[in-house]
């Protein structure tokens, strides 16, 4: 830059010390309209002549449909249409990710045909002139069901003699996947080890529960044969393809439009029965049809997640060095294979089981099992939160067994920088190639976390308080996150005559701040103020394809797509400039929003907008996945009288490569941590023995609120390498990391506070009743500080 002189005055503007937007904690550009009430959520949209749909849902967990009588509902004034499965073509909702033969035989039809398999399964739809009338009429639909035995427990469901949900499959086990090497070798290592801990762990059903429920508004224009659907989210291009297949209209005739989205967390935006039913009805009736999910429906119909059972053996030597583990997991898929199929979650679970630690060998299997409950899918930190809980609990149990501090045992086992590249023994989810850890510095992140929280002092305080009779506990855990999956992403960047630029992207916003971070990237590449950049993502019509927003991928994938589109725009401008100014293209230089054309000894600056209108790019780098690490430290206090758990302090470290926007990232990490606390202490979808859901409102499905949230101190560790001209260099897809280690960290801290009863703490969420019971097992006075006597841990 020192070569810039006064002879090139025009370059000064861009070359003078411009502080890049990337890396700055900029407030979100999305916030203002949302905060002043000018946002547009799906229920804010109306179309003339709009009708309202209400979905009639099964009230029986398992049964054969004898008949559905809709005559009374049809007769009510204001009712326009009532449909059942008999009115629909025989379609099923396909698996989006990793379909298998078995998952394809357990797909969900939009409306139940001959059987119902969970309470909440759609069986009919009423369309009326008013949402109240629709619900009144829905109450008149008589569904006669011959009850079958509901299968609720995942272990019982996997039994050979269990009642079957899908008899044509011959079993309730849809698929089974494995990880690791030779099972016999692993068994041999475990047999020969000095320290072996065996435990069964169970995690309750939990879910994304976004504050905005789902909703759809569909309108069919018969003249244009065009169908428009408002209310898309997350993966709208995928859903366009699915809808096109199911409804028999070409993709070009379909437009899926996103409004503002009040939370996604993996569940919102997937293709559900309603995503077919509402567009189908709009086309059938010839009038716009709207459906807004109510909270009860949302808790019954949106994908659940997390429910699983683990049997785990972990072997270590007397110094606490891990040798091997062997895991067997039952993943409760629920009643159908939905868009996430039957192997994605089992694979994710096993991928995250080994964590940031060094093993001689490991082996694991995970099966997806049908039960008469709401079908399951991904939920923030899918297949990451759960194995991290299980593994980190086991690590602490081993630490107790061998009598070393939880932080120390992790130090001894975390893969060091010197060992990299380290063959993890795992296979990449997208490519199937061996995963090699060659990036980041796992021990550094963990040590920075311990240093930040003052771990040694905290431990000393905890020991002192425990001796004084307080039930306090401290935990330090570590996690790993396979981030940034995907195959491609697209962007189109337009140059407007007034100097502004619009980036159209195929990723989606679920409220995570995509517009802000992509604007930062674009503004840096274009050398323009961020206000001159707009990011558009809401409409499938503006970018041909896109994969969407999941697994913390939107920033990096979307960012590189935008960067490529800007480069394409600049290249196009250079070409046009070469022609127009009769210059050699090689001598023309793109500089942000302009090109510099040689003119004698000086250079003429020409705005791109005068030369080219848009650039398009498809980012398809093969695999872009990477590993992120982090850790959590929690200090908790337990009230033995009530079983209450108070989170006194919380620290979270997260290695993200580079933070494009530390403010939005920290916000996401904090939000994720709080959501994880819900999973650790509060949330569970409960069912009665007959399969009736017991958590159908926020009274019973307890989400954490500000009052239950500790101040999460976030330490973003940025080890990513910065490359000139690439604002995204070094950045990893982050955000979900905030939730991954939380269940483990709460559980370990509570276990530390409970002392000798710690080994009993094997379930999430941790209920006050459990804490009260375990606290009564061992009074604090009987405890020996940090190294209590260990009972047989098996």
């Amino acid at each position: 830059m020192s070569s810039e002189t006064t002879t090139k005055p025009r370059r000064r503007a861009s070359a003078k010390a411009r502080v890049p937007y990337v890396g700055r904690p900029l407030p979100r550009v999305e916030d203002r309209p949302l905060l002043v009430g000018a946002g547009g959520y799906v229920d804010d949209f109306e179309r003339p002549g709009m009708l309202h749909a209400h979905v009639v849902r099964s009230e029986v967990a398992h049964g054969r449909i004898r008949s559905i009588d809709v005559a009374a509902a049809r007769r009510l004034p204001g009712v326009e249409h009532v449909i059942t499965a008999a009115d629909l073509p025989p379609v099923e909702i396909p698996v989006r990710l990793f379909p298998t033969d078995s998952s394809n035989r357990t797909l969900q039809p939009p409306l139940a045909r001959d059987r119902v398999r969970y309470v909440g399964e759609p069986v009919a739809v009423v369309v009326a002139t008013d949402p109240y009338l629709a619900e009144d009429a829905a109450a008149q639909v008589a569904v006669d069901v011959e009850p079958l035995v509901p299968v609720l427990d995942v272990e019982q469901a996997a039994d050979d003699d269990a009642w079957l949900l899908h008899p044509q499959l011959g079993t309730n086990v849809i698929d089974r996947v494995t990880v690791g090497g030779d099972e016999a070798e692993v068994a041999r290592l475990i047999r020969g080890a000095d320290v072996v801990v065996r435990k069964r762990f169970r995690l309750a059903r939990q879910g994304a529960v976004p504050l905005e429920t789902r909703g759809l508004l569909a309108e069919y224009d018969a003249d244009a044969n065009a169908l428009t659907v408002w209310g898309a989210a997350k993966v709208k291009h995928f859903n366009r393809t699915i809808l096109s297949d199911l409804i028999g209209l070409p993709e070009a005739s379909l437009r899926l439009i996103e409004g503002d989205v009040g939370g996604g967390f993996g569940a919102r935006g997937e293709f559900y029965p309603e995503d077919y039913l509402i567009p189908w009805l709009a086309r059938e009736i010839g009038r716009p049809v709207k459906w807004i999910e109510d909270r009860r429906e949302n808790l019954l119909a949106l994908n659940h997640s997390r429910e699983q059972q683990w049997d785990l053996e972990l072997a270590a030597d007397r110094e606490g060095r891990f040798i091997a583990f062997r895991a067997s997991v039952l993943w409760a898929q629920g009643a159908y294979s939905r868009t996430h199929g039957s192997v994605l979650l089992p694979r994710l679970i096993l991928l995250h089981a080994s964590g940031p630690y060094r093993w001689q060998a490991f082996w694991g299997e995970a099966s997806s099992v049908l039960t008469n409950k709401t079908p399951a899918g991904t939920y923030r930190g899918p297949g990451q939160y759960e194995p991290t809980f299980v593994r980190e609990r086991m690590v602490d149990l081993v630490a107790r067994e061998v009598g070393i501090d939880p932080a120390e045992i992790r130090r001894r086992n975390i893969i060091t920088k010197a060992e990299m590249p380290y063959d993890s023994g795992l296979l990449d989810l997208d490519t199937g190639l061996p995963m090699v850890y060659d990036d980041g510095d796992f021990p550094l992140v963990f040590e920075q976390l311990l240093e930040r929280c003052g771990y040694d002092q905290l431990r000393a305080d905890v020991v002192r308080r425990q001796r004084a009779g307080e039930r306090v506990g401290l935990s330090a855990t570590s996690f790993i996150e396979m981030g940034n999956p995907g195959v491609f992403e697209q962007a189109r960047v337009e140059a407007l005559p007034d100097g502004r630029f619009v980036a159209h992207v195929g990723i989606a916003s679920v409220g995570q701040g995509v517009e802000t971070v992509l604007s930062q990237v674009a503004a840096d590449l274009l050398h323009v103020p961020i206000e001159q950049v707009a990011v558009r993502y809401r409409d499938t019509a503006t970018v041909p394809e896109g994969q969407g927003a999941f697994s913390s991928r939107a920033t990096v994938w979307g960012g590189y797509a935008v960067a490529g589109a800007i480069r394409a725009l600049q290249e196009r401008a250079v070409e046009v400039a070469a022609e127009r100014f009769n210059a050699v293209a090689d001598e023309i230089e793109a500089d942000g929003d302009s090109v510099l054309v040689p003119r004698g000894r000086r250079r003429r600056r020409v705005p791109i907008a005068e030369l080219a209108s848009e650039g398009f790019f498809r980012y398809e780098p093969g695999s872009a996945s990477h590993v992120l690490t982090g850790g959590n430290v929690a200090l908790v206090r337990v009230d033995p009288g009530s079983g209450d758990v108070v989170l006194e302090r919380w620290w979270l470290a997260y290695e993200v490569g580079r933070a494009i926007n530390p403010l939005t990232l920290e916000g996401q990490v904090r939000g994720a941590a709080v959501q994880g606390i819900g999973g650790a202490l509060l949330e569970a979808f409960a069912y009665a023995p007959d399969g009736q859901p017991l958590t159908t409102s926020f009274l019973d499905y307890a989400l954490p609120t500000a009052a239950e949230s500790p101040n999460v101190e976030v330490l973003l560790v940025e080890l990513g390498e910065r490359r000139e001209g690439d604002p995204l260099s070094g950045a990893k897809g982050g955000g979900e990391g905030g939730i991954i280690g939380v269940g483990a960290t709460v559980a370990n801290a509570v276990a530390d506070a409970l002392g000798g009863a710690a080994g009993e703490l094997t379930e999430l969420p941790i209920l006050p009743e459990t804490v009260q019971r375990l606290a009564a097992l061992q009074a604090p006075a009987a405890r020996g500080g940090a190294k209590p006597p260990m009972r047989s841990a098996s």
Partner: protein, 250 residues
Amino acid sequence: MKLEKGFTVAVGVDQAWAWLTDADAVASCISPDLRRPDGERVYSGDVVIAHNGAALRCRTNLRPLELDDDEHVARLKLQGRELGGAALGTGVVQGKLNAAEGGTRVTVSADFALAGSGSASPTLEQVAVVALDGFAKRLADQMQEQPRQEAAALVGASARAASGQRLKAVEPAAAPPAGAAPSTARPQAPAPSEQPGAVAAAPADRAGALGQRLGERAPLVGVGALLGALLMLLLRRPKRRSTVEIRYRW
């Protein structure tokens, strides 16, 4: 932010109390713009204050919180919002009566939380005090003019309303006994023994209607409205563009 203003009226405590709990009467000497829709207990309106040639409008509403007949304390909740501005104020206004030499000491205090603005300007606080003085004078004038007979009726009805909300008959025992009053003597107040008779002499319908009104309506509503308006004045900032920018959403 706290504001306090005291003044003395030359009537007895019970008479002043009765007057102050007749919300409509007090409101009328403050602003004709405050309305209480039929069946509502919240007074609301856009109160306009002219100050230094500039007119300030604020949307104000008032809601009674509690009446303490024994201590002669009335409190109400006040909320105000500057029209066309972003300033908000919310808080509690309290009126308290004490017997004093020459009549009754009326203490009006306000405790407010303000949002969306900086600190109040001293000049405007000055204006608030001056305005409050004006109000105090009008209030005092009104109270002095109030016929004694009617005031006494009001007192009786007030006591009756407080004694369990049964509006069938006036029970002499329900009138505030002297012992229930603060120990500070009330030399200017009508003797308690006079009250039951006065109540009995009052037209039944009048007493009944008042019985229903008192206790439910905002006492000191006028004071609150004035303070609300003044607060909005204090909150006023340099005019900013207040239109909300609505982006192209789709």
